[in-house]
């Protein structure tokens, strides 16, 4: 997924990197962090999904492994949301300063 930020509509339109191709340096850095966080989150969620499916299907998946995977996926989602919130808050602050 080359642009998860747009696809998932995580950021408001004005901050979407696809909308503003000529992005400045600092903005790129934050968005890159967010992109990495989203990729981690997707990876962990896929893992959690397959482990829980394994558990439910009774194919030998162990309970504790599945539970750990679910908790990790949940935490990485929270992390992603926090990163997103910080980015949005920072830009709102900057926008306010620029009148």
């Amino acid at each position: 997924m080359n642009n998860p930020i747009s696809a998932l509509r995580i950021l408001p339109a004005e901050l979407d990197p696809a909308a503003t191709p000529s992005a400045s340096g600092p903005k790129n850095g934050f968005l890159e962090t967010l992109r990495e966080t989203i990729q981690d989150m997707e990876h962990l969620q896929n893992q959690a999904q397959s482990k829980v499916a394994g558990l439910v299907e009774g194919n030998g998946m162990d309970v504790h492994s599945a539970m750990i995977a679910v908790e990790k996926a949940d935490l990485s989602f929270q992390l992603m949301m926090q990163v997103r919130n910080k980015i949005v808050a920072a830009y709102q602050e900057i926008a306010r300063l620029q009148f």
Binding site: N59, G60, M61, D62, V63, H64, M67, V70, E71
Partner: protein
């Protein structure tokens, strides 16, 4: 081997020990049976335990280590081939021409000891079931 599969392993033992106990009880009940419908005295029976590879879930078959996790089952129920115990009872309806009656070669003390052993092993595996259940519960608690 996961915790649910362990319940099967312990369960197989509970079943085997119960079968063992049933055979012992049958021996004890028939200790004095001189005549069975098939003719002749009751023959003492005994069980033979064998290790049993538990049916594994398909996806784990490839990675499962042979000989690591095994249940048990009663492989055979054998008739004791010891000679019958003969007692001189000429007036007995089942006496042979020499006046002897054939009785099962069942030693009540031996049978009782066997029964106690089966009970103890049963309890041991019941404890294993309880432990597996507790660990499954604790695993679920990981998610609060």
């Amino acid at each position: 081997m996961n915790l649910f599969a362990m319940l099967e392993v312990s369960g197989s033992a509970l079943g085997a020990e119960r079968q063992r106990a049933e055979v012992v009880v049958s021996n004890m009940a028939n200790a004095e049976t001189a005549r069975t419908p098939e003719g002749g005295p009751y023959r003492r029976r005994l069980v033979v335990f064998r290790t049993q590879r538990m049916p594994q879930f398909s996806m784990l078959l490839a990675g499962l280590q042979p000989g690591s996790a095994q249940g048990v089952h009663v492989d055979q129920v054998l008739a004791d081939r010891s000679p019958a115990v003969r007692r001189y009872q000429p007036g007995h309806p089942d006496a042979d021409p020499q006046g002897y009656v054939a009785y099962p070669a069942v030693n009540p003390v031996e049978e009782m000891t066997d029964l106690l052993g089966a009970v103890r092993s049963y309890e041991l595996n019941a404890a294993a079931v309880a432990a597996s259940k507790a660990m499954i519960q604790q695993s679920l608690d990981i998610l609060r």
